[in-house]
């Protein structure tokens, strides 16, 4: 087991001295191999706060998180660099806002920052930068540009490239597809899927897109009001009545299935996974 949350609560203290438990009493375990997880739930439910515990960026106010055997709780010193730094390489986190991650003069310097920090030579890191920039759908000419003078979707891609360059065991991506064009979204999801399948790595994706949950996830976590309210398979989640109450909706495929079943008075033999499945059902309905 790579990451284990034991009854974790995280309390923000606001400028005006309010306290707010952004996540409350969370317990869950994540394997370092073979998981493809989506984390979903309404705006402000605690998703970003939850994942920032996974590489010890923030520490629990109550409870503890075990990350590769290292215990992190409220007594863990923030300055324990030598202890916590290796975790940042094992668990790579892409922030919701790429702007929080981009700070160097060029895209190349941003991408090589992580690998160099973890001991890679500059030459080697630059070679990797050339590979990952293409993987995220940009060409090498972007390496010499300023990360600040890019479009929203281009920034997002660069922030993802930075994590890929670190080659972490677990990839945690906070809304990696928001702001991407549809082809970019599919290409990057397929890239994450191939990293997951070929290298057997665990991927955790925060998203509001139910199609991603339906198509890619083996396991889905739902946050609602600071609490983990669901941890299981997508097919089970989408059968539940609470979907609306949790501010979620149905993936397009299921919506279309139910609509066709209603309109045609038929019953699909199984939930469709692709266009071919729909065509099979339609041929059968003749």
């Amino acid at each position: 087991m790579a990451i284990k949350f034991n009854q974790v609560t995280y309390r923000y203290e606001s400028a005006n001295n309010d306290f707010y438990d952004a996540i409350s009493d969370i317990s869950l375990s994540i394997e370092d191999k073979g998981e493809f997880i989506t984390l979903i739930g309404e705006t402000g439910s605690g998703k970003s706060t939850l994942v920032q515990h996974m590489n010890a960026l923030i520490h629990p106010s109550e409870g503890e998180v075990l990350i590769y055997g290292i215990k992190v709780n409220k007594n863990t010193k923030k300055d324990k660099k030598e202890k916590l730094n290796p975790l940042r390489q094992k668990v790579g986190l892409v922030f919701q806002f790429p702007e929080y991650q981009l700070f160097e003069e060029t895209v190349e310097r941003d991408i090589i920052f992580g690998p160099k920090n973890f001991g890679m030579s500059e030459v080697q890191a630059k070679a990797i930068a050339k590979e990952v920039i293409v993987q995220v759908g940009l060409d090498e000419s972007y390496l010499l540009r300023s990360p600040f003078n890019l479009s929203g979707g281009e920034k997002k891609r660069v922030s993802i490239a930075g994590i890929l360059a670190m080659n972490p065991d677990i990839l945690v991506l906070d809304e990696p597809t928001s702001g991407l064009d549809p082809k970019g979204r599919d290409d990057l999801l397929n890239l994450f899927l191939s990293i997951h399948e070929k290298l057997n790595k665990t991927v955790i994706i925060i998203t509001h897109d139910m199609n991603i949950v339906y198509k890619y996830a083996k396991r889905v976590l739902v946050m609602n009001n600071s609490r983990l309210v669901f941890d299981g398979e997508p097919s089970v989640l989408f059968k539940k009545k609470n979907i609306e109450e949790w501010n979620l909706d149905l993936p397009d495929m299921l919506e279309l299935q139910y609509n066709l079943e209603n309109e045609l008075g038929i019953k699909f033999s199984k939930n469709p996974n692709n266009i071919e499945d729909f065509l099979t059902e339609i041929k059968g309905a003749k």
């Binding site: 005006n16 705006t43 919701q96 929203g152 991407l180 064009d181 509001h208 609306e244 909706d249 309905a285």
Partner: protein
């Protein structure tokens, strides 16, 4: 009657590359236009040119009868509200309340009216309990909702939403779409920049940018069927339409199902 007229607009951030190339576009008063296109196609740049945050290399922009230039830029900005792609770029104040007030202050809206509008619009986007919080203490989607409230409260005749719902949960997104419909019914002119085909379907008209050029401009229903153009611009077909095209390619004939899929793809 056109409220925004863009003629032969060309723009570059630096000499070597033109980001927008000879763009011509006329938007009518009360129309809802979606602007789609691949990452880096020039959508946000175009919106910044319309409100005079960037200056065209050549070409003309006319807003509500006024030609955009140094003398008219202030008057034109009073007519257009823009929700930026990154809500952080919209925040200047110490609290959420300051930020919702900011746009109204610039318009010189009277204090009492401002206070009631802050209440009205923070409630509308479900952020009334957060008025005293600092903007950096909000989640991503909460920031987007505050940014939207600040612009709606300004009550301008034209509103541009630059991917303003990209981090909202499905229910939040639906409710913003229904505000936009309300605005449209009130005669407000709307431009939405989006990557969501389902969202674009609600608009009257779709313009697609590709590498800085307008490559499609038509009714939403027409453009969303244009498989070739969508594919070449990194966009996608709505699922029911995609299914119709697959049926046709594989010669699966079933008029009844095709008809139903048509209806389903156009449900808003």
């Amino acid at each position: 009657m056109s409220i925004i007229k863009i003629e032969d607009l060309t723009f570059s951030y630096n000499e070597d590359t033109e980001v927008l190339k000879n763009v011509n576009l006329e938007i009518n008063k009360g129309e809802w236009v979606s602007i789609l296109g691949h990452n880096g196609s020039g959508k946000s740049t175009l919106s910044k040119l319309i409100i005079g945050l960037l200056k065209a290399s050549s070409g003309k922009i006319t807003v509500d009868g006024e030609l955009l230039n140094y003398d008219t830029v202030h008057s034109i900005r009073r007519k257009i509200g823009i929700v930026f792609q990154n809500p952080d770029n919209q925040f200047v104040g110490v609290t959420v309340e300051d930020d919702i007030a900011f746009g109204m202050e610039n318009l010189g809206i009277e204090r009492n009216e401002m206070i009631s509008k802050i209440q009205e619009f923070s409630k509308k986007v479900n952020m009334i309990d957060y008025l005293n919080k600092a903007p950096h203490e909000l989640s991503g989607g909460q920031k987007q909702r505050v940014a939207i409230a600040g612009i709606l409260a300004m009550g301008t005749d034209i509103i541009i939403f630059d991917e303003a719902t990209s981090m909202l949960d499905p229910k939040g997104r639906d409710s913003v779409l229904s505000f936009i419909k309300e605005l449209k019914n009130q005669g407000i002119t709307i431009i939405t920049i989006t990557h969501e085909m389902k969202e674009a379907l609600y608009s009257d008209r779709i313009v697609i940018l590709k590498e800085g050029k307008v490559i499609a401009d038509g009714t939403a229903v027409d453009v969303l069927q244009d498989k070739k153009t969508l594919n070449s611009s990194n966009l996608e077909l709505l699922l029911p339409l995609k299914l119709i095209y697959h049926m046709q390619e594989q010669n699966i004939e079933n008029k009844e199902i095709e008809e139903i899929l048509w209806q389903l793809s156009l449900i808003k």
